[in-house]
């Protein structure tokens, strides 16, 4: 979606309203699909089965044992439906083939619209189901609630997210807004201005860069007020925004902040809660879009007539603000490109959150408590289930190594997968 917007900008073309709505419709289905996998398959087992449960049980199979077959089937079914919707609109469920400079290749057929309409009630109920499960199994469990509200997973930074003209959370189009750890707006920019606002720090030990707020300068891995590091993911979007643009999601948004008792929320486990609220928002927004008569408008593309040159596209990807920047020659061949993908924004926060979790959960004297490795991994899974999109690396297993050092910096024990 970001690439679609970037090539629109490269060709200096404003796409028709129906094309923008179709892209957003596709994107809402994608969000439900992505957030479902992230939460149910990869994150929920930590909560629902338990962070200290053996890995053989702490997985989606253990989750199904806990929540029951009917809910498990519903997860599979609703994910399948979102794949069908994406394929119906974009030609392919993964890597759609209908985004073009100036819009999309085809309008939505009336019969496809009716099919999607039929899916809507189930998708909205599925969004509500996720929040009910979270309420029943996580929030009403004192141990898990303590995990969420405790200080093991906390990081105080700035927050970034795309907002609409009322500062509400939006995924496809809007303005990038940044607030500081107190929730005060400190930056705001449109797509074409991103280079004036975000820079990327490089460390020699990794090829993944560390974005930061340019006007504050790179200050190292420092948290607290004044830091130039920001987070960009579901909880960050919520911290940045004034609310949600759909009623059920808004009610859930208000309940979440009331539970934490403050805004911004720095408790990282709130990320999973925010993710589930976003899933509900995506379902509600999908319902709005499919009802919109303009969604059937056959005018879905403006043929570009300008010479291509340079453009930036920004969307909110499920795991954070996603920026695509292309420079082309006069034929439209890309000569330079820069991508800041969702998880890349969170590279520094992930590093810091993992460090804090390791320090918190390793006992005095380097004692390894049960589930230590998992509790450290959980700090990572808050942001991204795998990291593979941000690094394009496929190690095949979590290459997790924890070195426990004494006060002199000497390694006294190593724990690894």
């Amino acid at each position: 979606m970001a690439s679609g917007k970037a090539v629109d900008a490269v060709y200096k073309v404003k796409i028709p309203a129906a094309a923008a709505k179709l892209r957003e419709l596709y994107y809402m289905a994608h969000y439900i699909h992505s957030h479902t996998a992230h939460f149910y398959a990869l994150a929920a087992p930590d909560f629902v089965v338990g962070p200290d449960a053996p890995p053989a049980e702490r997985n989606i199979l253990g989750l199904v044992n806990k929540v029951g077959i009917d809910i498990g089937r519903e997860v599979i079914r609703q994910r399948e439906i979102t794949q069908i919707i994406q394929q119906m609109i974009g030609g392919r469920a993964t890597h759609p083939v209908w985004n073009l400079p100036g819009g999309v290749t085809r309008a939505l057929a009336r019969e496809d619209r009716e099919t999607i309409k039929g899916y809507v009630p189930g998708l909205v109920q599925f969004g509500e189901l996720g929040l009910k499960l979270f309420d029943d199994l996580v929030l009403r469990n004192k141990g898990y609630l303590d995990l969420i509200l405790g200080d093991g997973y906390e990081l105080v930074t700035n927050y970034m997210g795309l907002v609409d003209d009322k500062n509400r959370v939006t995924f496809y189009d809007g303005t990038v807004r940044v607030v500081d750890p107190d929730g005060v707006e400190i930056d705001r920019y449109r797509e074409s201005e991103y280079l004036e606002h975000v820079a990327e720090h490089v460390e020699p030990y990794t090829y993944l860069k560390f974005p930061y707020l340019k006007k504050l300068g790179w200050q190292g891995f420092k948290e607290g007020k004044g830091t130039s590091i920001f987070q960009a993911a579901p909880l960050a979007r919520f911290n940045v925004a004034s609310g949600m643009a759909t009623p059920k999601a808004q009610a859930a948004y208000e309940k979440m902040f009331a539970t934490f008792g403050r805004k911004p929320v720095h408790k990282l486990m709130g990320m999973h809660w925010a993710r589930l609220i976003e899933l509900l928002y995506a379902a509600e927004r999908l319902a709005e879009l499919i009802k919109d008569e303009e969604i059937l408008d056959p005018n879905v593309r403006v043929i570009p007539s300008s010479t291509p040159s340079e453009g930036v596209g920004i969307v909110e990807a499920p795991r954070g603000t996603l920026t695509h920047h292309y420079v082309t020659d006069s034929r439209g061949i890309v000569t330079r490109a820069n991508l800041i993908v969702g998880t890349t924004n969170n590279n520094a926060p992930i590093s810091m959150a993992v460090t804090k979790a390791a320090k918190k959960f390793v006992g005095a004297g380097g004692e390894i408590r049960e589930g230590l490795l998992n509790r450290v991994e959980m700090a990572f899974r808050i942001y991204d289930p795998c990291f593979s999109c941000a690094t394009h690396s496929l190690p095949g297993q979590m290459p997790l190594v924890i070195e426990i050092k004494n006060a002199a910096g000497e390694t006294i024990r190593t724990v690894s997968r």
Binding site: L42, L61, I69, R79
Partner: protein
């Protein structure tokens, strides 16, 4: 026996597309004996693709240390360690997907055979395979089609145990 041939891969990453190319070569050849599908998917999505079949042949790229490009490994789900989609780090793996489907009382295949084709290059942008991997498409299609039809055929695949015997 209701049978599926499923090619997995990405056709813009050279040899990573091998599963798709095999599936495309088999499409139309197997008639009513088997359905042929192709996908870039993994994890939970595999449940929906495999649901309702009694037997499934899955073709994907594989990258094992020290193996010759174009070597075809015949595996069972429990053998899976190194294919990009079936051992997905981004989602659940094939074994979990199969077990989850069964746990949800969905009709999952009783028999699953995976052909992992050793790649030479699955990272460079390119819409065709390298020569060594390209050569495998025809013989692997013959092996799969022959096995489904229970007709005489030549097997080019080897088991992982044979790899171990060779000292890899």
């Amino acid at each position: 026996m209701k049978t599926l041939v499923l090619g997995l891969g990405n056709t813009i990453l050279c040899d990573d597309g091998i599963g798709i190319y095999v599936a495309r070569s088999l499409a139309g050849r197997l008639g009513a004996a088997a359905d042929v599908k192709e996908a870039e998917l993994a994890g939970l999505d595999l449940i929906e693709m495999l649901k309702g079949y009694e037997r499934a042949y899955i073709v994907d790229a594989i990258e094992l240390d020290g193996e010759e490009p174009g070597t075809v490994f015949r595996m069972r789900p429990d053998d899976i360690r190194s294919t990009p989609r079936l051992a997905s780090f981004h989602d659940i793996n094939l074994v979990t997907a199969l077990e989850l489907g069964r746990r949800l009382e969905l009709p999952m295949p009783r028999e699953v055979v995976i052909f992992g084709v050793q790649v030479a290059d699955a990272l460079t942008l390119g819409e065709s395979c390298t020569a060594a991997v390209e050569l495998v498409i025809g013989p692997l299609c013959d092996e799969i089609a022959g096995e489904i039809a229970q007709a005489p055929h030549r097997n080019i695949s080897i088991g992982l145990s044979e790899r171990r015997k060779r000292g890899a």
